[in-house]
Subunit: 711 residues, 2 copies
């Protein structure tokens, strides 16, 4: 609106001579123009915020200021601009025609019309024709206040978050996932993400239900509380991990926290959807339902239906996501599209975004689909891409991720003042903070205890405290909360979520560095090797791969738990040869009677690929793409990739070394240049490093399943 | 809708158990869900089309098929899918409540309400509360047909074209402009673009007005015809230039056609806007206005107002665009943001898109602003970017351009069948084709004749025929036509534009290669040097620049016409040193009394830049960024860049050689490695090459002005 002032000055010069005579349709044209300008200015406000944030982030990085992270910054700028918009800019008057549907019309309040055609008679001239205007359905209106006018000020349809802003963030998380560490800690991550998030949801839900009993004026049912528990259980990976990347925190803490928060976003989204469906059916059937519980028989059935629903949605989305990834891999393997990197990148982008829309159109969860699509694309398709497309896709999604993230955090700040459906309850907010701290504790400590029973490398208390501390809430929680602000309960949830996001991101995010040093968690772990790497950058990935110690397939397989091992072998022998150009060939791994098929599915390029074990590493070496060799300066968002280079040099070898005594396998040392295995790496394997919790994984969490079997 | 069928099958499994009991608000929730799914499926249809197009483009490139270009392909696929959607998919029933505004309400047909709040009583229960729904203004409704329902099928708000799809296309055109050739042919290009487009607009307008006299049933006023002339005068650079790039057509034909079609998009947009405003005021004042002309006195005043309006909008948009470009240049020069390429790229993107929105908010033309922003960014900001960001920004806009372009062409195809406001008039369409051919001829031949009076290197008849032939219509014409389909006249225009776009892109686009060989226009001009370049790619741009013959500043300045020379010197001495890190320093060029200021504006980096003339070339060497050195295969969209490398090796030197006899300047040969100046380059300068039309430019077109002076 500020900008509007400035521009209207400029535009007056040009528009001035057209206001003079106002003929019949000019007002209508003006209305279109006014809306267009409002849209432009709204968007401009956020672009301005993003520009400001970008420049300030640079300044902070340049001066090595770490107490406030970029996301916190975006929110604070947002708050300031939101306050200015609310209190210092003139309102935009919007007119409404209020009418009641006549009794004889066929529409009911369950089924309002999709649109209204409004005829207006020209009163000056009785003979003249009517003019008809079209109006489209927006939604249910809860309070007919003039505050609604505020809506035109810098707010967007909440669906924008789900359709436009979240998909690139989640895809990027999957695409840049450090799969090596992720899979090594798979059991723990799945336990925290699935069981932990559910525990947190129910703990927070129950506590809040107990708390609202003290606030009878708040219309919260148990289901509302559970819904709140679900949306607030989605932890945000952005803020804390940016700090982790900057500081090069121990890779396994990193993997645990990153893996958990990426997956638990997906879990929370599906959980919230299930609770909502459960609630809707439940609340709907018994209209007078209030704070008291109802017949337990019905609830139990509905509850199990919801659990089934949860699993159905999750598996369905997983299936769509991973199969779209595989189709892209096949497309890039069996065509020579890599000769045209632009086309290849376009195809990659289009396939990935289609995945999201497909899942949404099938009433599954696009976010979950896109996460697994990202992982599949990184694991298979990435190997088939040209060197240029690897750089292009990484950079593209990195940029989209950066813009979307900061847009959301700016929006959170701005909407505190401009969004009209807020309902502030100080008591509720305070108690909610207590509840989420307890919920987080009930997630981290008991599950860590269980995991430690089976893990060789225990999750130390320092790590547990760090995980506890890392429970920031962010974009997903906000997006889930703003999606529906129909009732007072929902509005209270939104306002509470906003405060919790602001508080955790700014305060906890800012304290991450002191916390790390207080807990004595190792930072700067790979500095030495990274220096080594950056002083002699190698332009193409196979070269890098051949410098670092390659692990033989067998050593690698032995490193994993049994179920993971089955999957790993299947992947290595059949999926990778089928979907990528890596060795061994399908002609070597498939049984003899499948030979014609195997030959059909093996490309010339693949057959000519030199048979070295390195080739297999490529997929996990997301790193070694061109743009690292171009720039000496690391781009701060992808420190997780860089680590991967070293990974094969240090942890891979180290882990193999640990296991080599058991399996008596000497293949891992056959090509290792001695100068690359350095002290910190070896040290890593035997000290506080979190290895794979083999036993626990097999016994308690049967979760490698969804990765391969349930497809 | 096809997809919908498939997905509804899948989703049934999960959704099945929630349809059972239908409580009160479920229908409302369902409505939201239904709209969401329709949106997803609509978007999915276009993504599917784009994927199909991308893969087919690859197949065509792979098999070297040139008779059908990608844009034609996108349209044909679009037509097929549109037909399927229209005839083979079930309709989506939409309900409408039709009401008349009561006489006592304060709204008039000039000023309909912004929204409607509709209360619905629950008829089953008289005591229960009313439910209110909100409806928002869509627009005026012209025909209350059931065909409106079709709108839900694969159509978008036309504003999407202007807000989302066109800006990246136009920005990319500006950013990847071959400035060297563009500026050398500046006079001719401006004459074609400004005078030529206006001539074409009036010729087509007048002819169509004459033609519609034969079709009295068509409600076309002279202004309508003029508007049609304006929208149909925007020629499309995409299709023909992709073929040119593939074939390496003579650079000056390329520059003329590219320059003309990029600028004439901007001219046509502003022209159409001016005609519309003129028309609105005019038609409004005399309500009974029909096919007959009215008092000429009024028309002349209004016409000059429109001309003033045209110039105001153009200059205002130019000012916003170029100043935002300069601000970005300053931001990237005086901060060290280049250490973080991600932030740098984000800043670049945000500033560029802000430019568009600012111009729109100021009621100017965002497209024009973004074009000049692109040129400024390439000329100044590009020099300050890190090597990585250069690659990133180029690739990003290349991708966005590719996706947007193909999206629009797919949409043109689909909308033939799905858009409901079509009005097909075979007679009108045939006559329109005749009119645009005449209009194009009246543009190209007379202006070429005028230009040839002053040019040393004449525009040969072959080139003129090629320009005539290159008058394809495309995205801009369509976007302008679909923006307003309120009256039958406008609907006829849209349908005619669609047919013309389809016809020109598919038929003329497909015949480009035969036409080139028929006209004996040289192709494959730089093959020899390009081979040379690609066999020994050099990773960083300064190296490439130092291999090719550098031109001294003086030689370069002498090459230009006087007004351009003044601008060039000003740019070289003051703007470039101010906005970029290039030499000479401001401390050397500014008068002595400005020393403190000059020192303040000179960065350390700039002072340490080695003083070689090459540095100046950098800006025009958009090419030599990393991704050309990475990939041996050229990406087909930017052959115009590659040429730039050679440009400095061939045409630059060649042109200097032509002029060196006049100006007796030997500086141009001081650093030229003899092995780089090859036969074709020298040949180029003396044969059919179009040099700069010095005299004409000064005498007839005073257009270098807007580039520097009018800011």
């Amino acid at each position: 609106m500020l900008c509007l002032g400035i521009f209207s000055q400029i535009s007056l010069i040009f528009a001035e001579n057209m206001i003079s005579s106002e003929p019949i349709d000019e007002k209508v044209e003006d209305k279109v123009k006014k809306n267009h300008i409002i849209d432009s200015v709204n968007m401009l406000i956020f672009l301005f915020l993003l520009i400001l944030t970008t420049v300030t982030i640079w300044a902070f990085k340049y001066r090595r200021i770490r107490f406030l992270h970029e996301t916190g910054l975006a929110m604070i700028y947002g708050l300031v601009v939101g306050a200015i918009i609310r209190y210092a800019s003139p309102g935009i008057a919007r007119t409404h025609f209020v009418t009641t549907l006549p009794q004889y019309e066929n529409f009911t309040r369950n089924d309002p019309p999709d649109g209204i055609w409004l005829s207006i008679r020209d009163r000056s001239n009785q003979t003249s024709r009517n003019t008809t205007f079209e109006y489209s359905y927006v939604g249910q209106l809860y309070e007919e206040t003039e505050d609604k006018d505020l809506e035109a000020k810098a707010t967007f349809d909440p669906e924008v978050f789900f359709q436009v802003l979240l998909p690139p963030i989640i895809f990027h998380a999957g695409y840049s996932l450090k799969r090596r560490h992720f899979f090594r800690n798979l059991g723990s991550i799945f336990l925290y993400a699935f069981l932990g998030t559910t525990v947190s949801c129910f703990v927070v839900g129950s506590l809040m239900f107990a708390f609202v009993q003290m606030m009878p004026y708040l219309p919260f049912s148990f289901n509302d509380c559970l819904f709140f528990g679900a949306i607030i259980s989605a932890t945000d990976p952005v803020t804390i991990l940016a700090v982790f990347s900057d500081l090069k925190v121990d890779v396994d803490v990193y993997a645990l926290i990153f893996g958990e928060s990426v997956l638990n976003d997906a879990v929370a989204i599906v959980l919230a959807g299930s609770v909502e469906k459960f609630m809707m059916r439940h609340d709907g059937a018994i209209e007078t339902y209030s704070n008291t519980g109802s017949g337990p028989g019905f609830e139990v059935t509905a509850f199990f239906k919801s659990v089934g629903n949860f699993l159905g949605i999750f598996c369905g989305a997983f299936a769509i996501g991973s199969s779209m990834g595989c189709i892209t891999a096949l497309l890039t393997k069996f065509t020579k599209i890599k000769e045209y990197p632009l086309l290849e990148t376009a195809l990659f982008f289009l396939m990935s975004y289609s995945t999201f829309l497909m899942a949404e159109a099938a009433e599954l969860t696009g976010i979950v689909a896109v996460l697994f699509c990202g992982i599949t694309q990184a694991h298979y398709t990435y190997n088939n891409l040209s060197v240029e497309s690897r750089g292009r896709t990484k950079q593209l999604f990195e940029l989209l991720n950066f813009l979307s993230e900061n847009f959301i955090f700016s929006y959170i700040g701005v909407s505190v003042f401009t969004f009209s459906n807020h309902h502030w309850e100080v008591g509720f907010i305070m108690l909610a903070i207590v509840a989420i701290v307890i919920g987080r504790a009930m997630n981290v400590y008991p599950l860590s205890f269980l995991l430690n029973l089976g893990r060789k490398q225990k999750i130390t208390y320092a790590y547990q405290h760090m995980m506890m501390f890392a429970g920031l809430r962010g974009a997903i929680a906000y997006a889930l909360a703003i999606r529906n602000t129909a009732s007072v309960a929902r509005q209270t949830m939104l306002s509470t979520t906003v405060i919790i996001v602001l508080f955790t991101v700014i305060v906890l995010g800012g304290c991450t560095t002191p916390m790390l040093s207080w807990l004595k968690i190792r930072v700067g772990v790979e500095d030495e090797q990274e220096m080594h790497h950056f002083t002699a950058p190698s332009p193409s990935s196979p070269h890098v791969a051949s410098h670092v110690a390659p692990l033989s397939h067998e050593a690698r397989a032995q490193e994993k738990a049994r179920l993971v091992r089955v999957w790993y072998n299947f992947d290595y022998k059949f999926l990778k040869p089928l979907l990528t150009n890596s060795r061994p060939l399908l002609t070597e791994t498939l049984p003899t009677f499948c030979m014609p098929l195997a030959r059909l599915l093996t490309t010339d390029e693949q057959a000519n690929t030199p048979l070295d074990e390195d080739k297999d590493d490529d997929s996990e070496l997301i790193v070694a793409d061109s743009y690292y060799s171009i720039s000496g300066h690391q781009s701060f968002q992808n420190a997780d990739d860089e680590e991967l280079i070293l990974d094969d040099g240090s942890h891979g070898v180290a882990a193999a070394a640990v296991h080599s005594s058991e399996v008596n396998n000497s293949a891992s040392s056959d090509a290792r240049p001695p100068d690359r295995v350095q002290a910190p790496a070896a040290d890593d394997a035997f000290t506080g490093d979190l290895g794979l919790g083999d036993h626990v994984m097999q016994a308690r969490v049967r979760l490698p399943g969804p990765l391969g079997d349930s497809v």
